[in-house]
């Protein structure tokens, strides 16, 4: 090979190209390579040093959920044909991936009740930030009004991006667990580019989405802001679709649809909108067309929105989407099917309702709000949450997330956020009640004795 190149050594190739001053000239300070079985052993050791949702009774949620992932998703996501290609730049040999995108877009469009979906974005919170950019491009205004019911990571992410966009973020407080409608209306002014709320919100409460959309759209005489809802797709079998209640853009975290927890990623962000925003959408979009022989096929389309064509005028800098995770999403929705998504939604609703009533009946445990809940509920404990969680952990129960640790809000002191997936049976909830009740009682006794 060297002879063909016309050099005497491999070193010569580098000597002729890399200036001597910037050559490393030593070995990297990393351990030597290992055989496959040794690396596997190390990765297994690290896995065993974690307590997964397989090893404890976990009610953690707050953005990522331990839903059941059917076996056929593992099989399909591991197939070489889906796992190892790049973005489908050559459509003639990428029809499989492109068709998956097209089907995914159809499923997300159906789920959200909005006509236009892209082929996925990175994940939930950054999808909200991408939607705010769509609003900025659409109306050029500089304020983003948000509900305090958004996930704290979403709020933090949006603030990071908004600094780049040159936009201000104005937070509207909650009242009784949901967005304060009067404050919401008052916050939207003529310079408001986007109004964003979460459904259900971070505290598990179902918002009056129609009222929030109407209030935002009607708050100013001229063209109102772009109304953006951060939705949880798994609840959309029973909750009103964003497209049914005045929402312009629906975004959300897709992990609950057939994706693993993976300590927080990778998953995918869904992004759907009304027709008028189609040319302002971020990310890849697959479209249907015909080949020269008249055969149906799919291509990446509307690419003049994208960075590789439009460069500094692009609608987003997104290049890679989350194609493999979106495959998991569409296969999951297909597996659930038309009836299953409703049945699962009803089951989650019933179990979450049962859990809230059961837990709030414990001494020293209260509902944080009275709003409807569908898959997650918020409690207030008359005890130190961190200490209660530690006591529960000793019993092999993870009772949920410490609300205040996530939001940092003083009013969330004592808050516990409990997620109920279909993997948590009534028996599991009863065990949680027993464990949590005992832990709260023990903490209160200790507080009294101190």
């Amino acid at each position: 090979m060297l002879a063909a190149i016309g050099v005497s050594s491999l070193q010569e190739i580098f000597d002729r190209q890399i200036p001597e001053n910037v050559r490393l000239g030593r070995d990297l300070d990393l351990p030597p390579g290992r055989p496959e079985q040794d690396v596997y052993a190390e990765l297994a050791r690290l896995a065993e040093a974690n307590i997964s949702s397989e090893q404890e009774l976990s009610f953690l949620g707050a953005g990522m959920y331990d839903h059941y992932v059917p076996a056929l998703i593992d099989m399909l996501m591991e197939r070489s044909e889906f796992l190892t290609p790049y973005t489908p730049y050559q459509p003639e040999i990428s029809q499989g991936g492109l068709q998956v995108m097209f089907e995914y877009q159809t499923a997300i469009s159906e789920l959200t009740g909005l006509p236009v979906s892209n082929a996925s974005t990175y994940e939930g919170p950054s999808a909200v930030a991408a939607a705010a950019y769509l609003a900025k491009l659409h109306n050029g205004r500089s304020r983003i009004v948000i509900s305090a019911g958004l996930h704290p990571h979403t709020i933090q992410t949006l603030r990071t991006y908004a600094h780049g966009y040159g936009m201000d973020v104005v937070e509207v407080p909650l009242s009784g667990g949901v967005t304060d409608l009067d404050a919401w209306s008052a916050a939207v002014d003529a310079d408001t580019s986007a109004a964003i709320f979460a459904q259900p919100n971070f505290y598990g409460a179902v918002e009056d989405a129609q009222a929030l959309s109407d209030a935002a759209h009607g708050a100013v005489e001229s063209d109102g802001p772009v109304v953006i809802a951060q939705v949880d797709p798994i609840t959309l079998g029973i909750l009103q679709a964003p497209g049914e209640c005045g929402v312009d853009v629906a975004v959300g975290e897709g992990q609950s649809l057939g994706n693993r927890l993976d300590f927080g990623g990778p998953s995918f962000g869904l992004f759907a909108a009304r027709e008028e925003y189609i040319r302002r959408m971020p990310g890849r979009i697959a479209g249907e067309t015909l080949d020269v022989d008249g055969r149906r096929g799919f291509v990446l389309t509307l690419q003049t929105r994208e960075q590789h064509i439009r460069r500094e005028k692009a609608t987003s800098n997104i290049c890679t989407a989350q194609a493999l995770n979106a495959l998991g999403g569409v296969v999951y929705l297909t597996w659930l099917g038309r009836r299953g998504i409703v049945e699962l939604g009803e089951l989650l609703l019933a179990r979450t309702h049962y859990a809230r009533e059961t837990l709030a009946a414990l001494p020293g445990v209260h509902k944080l709000h009275e709003q409807p809940v569908v898959r997650e509920l918020a409690l207030r404990l008359d005890a130190d949450v961190a200490a209660v969680r530690r006591r529960c952990a000793e019993q092999g129960v993870n009772p949920g997330a410490d609300l205040q640790a996530l939001t940092g809000r003083p009013e969330d002191e004592g808050g516990l956020l409990v997620a109920i997936t279909e993997r948590r049976s009534r028996e599991d909830v009863d065990r949680l009640a027993e464990t949590l009740g005992a832990a709260v009682a023990a903490e209160r006794r200790e507080a009294v004795s101190v």
Binding site: I18, V22, F82, Q90, G96, I278, T334, E343, E422
Partner: protein, 521 residues
């Protein structure tokens, strides 16, 4: 002109004995040529795969979810059985070309082999079913892995601090530009310009706009490097940073990198390294030692996270000491007792870029890769990537391909090279696009086409280190055969491909009248 290899998906160029362009070519297999039917067009009412767990709690009272919050019409999802789902998706998967099936020399994408060990490790429940809000003391394995990966990426790049948070290269770029902005703002300076070479990836200028700054292009010199005089003229106190890939998108290591760094630092700006091409220099040269302040990595390129048909990716960033205070949160840190924690309390941070801690599943795979290869193996990977690229370039010259497809710049290359199809278009009447489409009939994924923009009819080839000499030879011979064929009859390439599940698609109509979802009746 013989078939390349029996194992290739579409090994037969497929037009023997047929008039080209008339749609008369042999179909690959009946399955591949079946008309596309989506899952929404299959199934029947009542058919299903999912069996819902039983309702083991009391029915909820109606007021638990008032009617006005309830969905009026259920989403029209498919009604299919599990066997139908499996047949459907396995069927359409066969209409994809993939890295496990054949050579994929897509320039700037680093399509190297994806070891299956990584999938097995990432699927262990301790990784795959670990909740991101698990208490740090009960997620020590994950935090240790992340910390080790931060350390390894820091050593490979020569950067003192690493954050794993960004989700992809473009996300890392956004982090980098926001970091540069934060650095200047903290010093009381408002700098609104970002310099990018005209060879830059499209993500660079798009990112700059999203970060609220303005793109200023820097010219490329006759050797394919940064035009140092143009840089000097444009570098002033309004410049926040210069974004650079080195080796650049022409596959060339910029010999003036030290001078470039001096000019940029001389005006108080920062130097940003787009890590798309890191696969050329691992263990050989480090961005930190070249003077870069901010680096992003593409774990899905250099560190072999599978591309998944367009994601997931992962785009950690590394920074020098002076940029470290602004790093996005969280960063994994180590306590004095050797345990690990998520450091969220960083006073000057630019904030979060996404939920939770980054694409951990990708970290597991890339960490497995780094542990498998070690210091020697990573260096060997880069050396072999560069050797393979130069060998392929030399082989094309030996076959006379350079007569019509000359190297755009330079003589040697790093891990990839860019050919210009300009002479081919003029002399043989086939465009780079035609050449790419004809390559499909030979069972190869074509190189990146029409990028970088400053090369006429560009063809960007990155073979990677995991390809054999035999594969490189076969690819070179295929290119030579296509040029020879075009000299005799350019129509063959002009109407290619012939053997693929579909042939050339009408992208213009698709964009003009977008149909982007299945219509349901």
């Amino acid at each position: 002109m013989s078939p390349i290899d029996d194992n290739h998906l579409h090994a037969d160029p497929g037009i023997e004995g047929h008039h080209p362009g008339a749609g008369s070519a042999r179909a690959p297999t009946p399955l591949q040529r079946q008309p596309a039917t989506t899952i929404f067009q299959k199934g029947a009412p009542g058919r299903r795969a999912f069996l819902c767990p039983e309702l083991d709690v009391p029915q909820v009272p109606a007021e638990a979810l008032p009617e006005r919050f309830r969905r009026a019409v259920p989403p029209r999802l498919p009604e299919v059985s599990e066997p139908e789902i499996v047949r459907h998706y396995v069927g359409i998967s066969k209409r994809n070309f993939d890295l496990d099936s054949g050579f994929y020399p897509l320039g700037s994408c680093t399509m190297k082999h994806n070891p299956r060990l990584h999938e097995r490790a990432a699927a262990l429940p301790g990784h795959a079913r670990l909740h991101p809000l698990q208490d740090p003391e009960r997620a020590q394995g994950a935090l240790e892995l992340m910390w080790n990966l931060q350390q390894a990426l820091g050593e490979i790049s020569g950067m003192a601090h690493v954050s794993l948070q960004p989700s992809a290269g473009s996300h890392g770029e956004l982090a980098g530009v926001l970091l540069s902005r934060a650095y200047h703002e903290d010093r009381g300076e408002t700098r609104h310009k970002v310099l990018t070479p005209d060879t830059a990836h499209g993500t660079n200028p798009a990112t700059v706009t999203m970060a609220g700054l303005e793109v200023v292009k820097v010219a490329t010199n006759a050797d394919g490097g940064v035009d140092v005089e143009d840089l000097r003229a444009k570098a002033d106190s309004d410049v926040a940073c210069l974004m650079l890939t080195n080796p650049n998108t022409l596959g060339l290591f910029d010999p003036n990198i030290e001078e470039i760094a001096a000019i940029v630092h001389g005006v108080g700006a920062t130097l940003y390294y787009d890590g798309a091409n890191l696969n050329a220099v691992m263990g050989l040269s480090r961005p930190g030692d070249m003077g870069f302040d901010i680096v992003h990595f593409n774990l899905h390129k250099s560190f072999t996270q599978p591309h998944g048909g367009g994601g997931p990716g992962s785009g950690p960033i590394g920074v020098s000491d002076r940029i470290a205070p602004y790093l996005p949160v969280p960063v994994v840190a180590r306590n004095e007792d050797g345990t690990f924690f998520l450091d969220e309390e960083r006073e000057k941070t630019i904030g979060r870029l996404r939920g939770f801690h980054g694409n951990y599943g990708c970290f597991v795979r890339s960490y497995a890769y780094i542990r498998s290869l070690g210091a020697d193996g990573l260096k060997d990977a880069s050396e072999t990537a560069v050797l393979n690229a130069n060998y392929l370039l030399a082989r094309l010259r030996q076959l006379g391909v350079d007569e019509h497809l000359p190297l755009a710049y330079g003589e040697l290359c790093m891990h990839e090279f860019v050919l210009s199809g300009g002479p081919m278009k003029r002399e043989l009447k086939i465009k780079t696009l035609d050449l790419a489409k004809r390559l499909l009939d030979f069972g190869f994924h074509p190189p990146t086409v029409y990028f970088p923009l400053l090369v006429d009819e560009a063809l960007m080839v990155e073979p990677t280190e995991t390809e054999t000499k035999e594969t490189l030879d076969a690819f070179a011979e295929a290119l030579a055969a296509i040029l020879k064929e075009a000299a005799e009859d350019p129509e063959i390439a002009q109407h290619a491909p012939y053997t693929t599940p579909v042939r050339r698609l009408d992208e213009v109509t698709a964009a003009k009248n977008p149909v982007i979802r299945q219509e349901l009746v």
